[in-house]
Symmetry: C2
Subunit: 271 residues, 2 copies
């Protein structure tokens, strides 16, 4: 999907919501557990219930890999279901891969060609030759980890380099020269909203994928204050607060309500 | 596998060789391509040919994920084959995962419980809560990326922090306090052999997984000069130089010869 197509979708829906598809078997509604593929059935109902409110879906690959080959089947079916029924939605494989050259190309093939994802999250630790292989596909995106929403972000990302920049600022500055705002985005956690001003100084034009709103405590208004740019430039992700809004037979109805709440908040920001 | 079991195996075989199982369909011997599962057949013959020369196998998950569900089947079968026929070998899932809390636990479950790997490679960018979930399993290991063998290592890992330490030195120092030499190892590339002295100052006791010998140009003698400790403390990986020693029907014979060459070199270092 091109940047223009993504922006058009955001403007027409007045939403920049991304729904994280992280199905945890321990939290699935009980009545689904007798299904042949409970994970897919859960995802399908979540997708149908939230599609009008969001512009993107983000399955985290760990939640599928944990169930081995059957989990991979669920992931395959989920992405095919989105592509067939909601082809305008942007699909992010949240895989946080980071490997070099030929190996990175293997991952690119796995996620872009086989799974038909539009984007994959990528870790920056191994440098240029671990990111560039993901930038060789028309209409596909690498989403580089910049500043993450977890406590461990302070163990490396927030440390200061000899020149004065923080590690995550160096990552934004360096990696952004390897691609363009048409094929790269960044992960910046909502829990670090006070840093969005600094982030936007370095990458004014890139889209930012923002996890951490909702269950992790991040706040949409704080993120928007400095995060928005003239193309909106944000994809704000919510997972648990939507997926597990309730655990009963009407879980999808409650998921839709949670997604609608965020959608309503977002409408004010999309002029 | 415990540290003691690994060291005992190294001493009894006089080898600290790890064979990387990175089967690339474009490079497999032609006569195998008609097999139902060419990747597994290739791995099986490589394993049978090299088992006496090495103490560990390291499949890189990208090479399996690239083939989707059939690739996952090949990986499953490969690890089961090793466990059944060569139970003393240490199995490293080279997956370079890095995600937080619950998600990291999902990966740990996938690689340790379902695939029966002894160790998984882990990226340090997201910090403590992305590494600790891998340290909660008896006899299982997290192998953290320290200083990698690729050109891109200079984009972040070799940068200097405000306090004077390089980023990779900070990673070694910080992360090593989260576990022990009994459940953590580090990746340090053979192409950075001149830095092994500094590395050993920070982590004198940990095992180091060393990629980059052979096809990538790293040299065993250089690595051993400063890398060896009193428990040997090294697992030196070779992939392409062994797997693709020749491409004919006798590829496994030639793979064994390449592995034997490295084994012979190693014997001198294991007293």
């Amino acid at each position: 999907m091109t940047r223009k197509e993504l922006i058009d979708q955001i403007r027409s829906k007045k939403s920049f919501l991304c729904v994280g598809l992280d199905p945890d078997a321990d939290k699935l509604p009980k009545h689904l557990l007798s299904e042949d593929d409970a994970i897919f059935e859960f995802n399908k109902q979540i997708i149908d219930a939230t599609a009008d409110h969001c512009v993107a879906y983000k399955p985290n690959s760990a939640f599928y890999e944990a169930y081995g080959i059957s989990g991979l089947h669920s992931l395959d079916k989920t992405l095919k279901y989105i592509k067939q029924n909601y082809p305008e939605h942007f699909i992010i494989a949240d895989a946080k891969r980071g490997d070099i050259g030929n190996t990175a190309s293997m991952y690119a093939r796995a996620f872009f060609k086989r799974l038909h994802a539009d984007a994959i999250t990528v870790a920056p630790y191994m440098g240029r030759d671990s990111v560039e292989p993901f930038l060789q596909f028309d209409g596909k995106w690498a989403i580089v980890l910049g500043l993450t929403s977890n406590a461990g972000a302070s163990d490396l990302q927030l440390h200061e380099l000899a020149g004065g920049a923080k590690v995550y600022e160096h990552v934004l500055r360096t990696t952004s020269s390897w691609g363009t705002p048409d094929n790269m985005m960044y992960v910046i956690g909502a829990t670090k909203a006070d840093m969005f001003k600094d982030v936007r100084n370095i990458i004014p034009d890139h889209f930012i994928l923002v996890p951490g709103v909702g269950a992790q405590g991040g706040n949409l208004a704080d993120v928007c204050r400095y995060g928005l740019n003239e193309d909106i430039g944000l994809l704000v992700n919510a997972s648990r607060s939507i997926l597990y809004a309730s655990g009963g037979t009407d879980f999808a109805v409650d998921a839709a309500k949670e997604a609608a709440k965020l959608h309503d908040e977002m409408k004010a920001y999309v002029k």
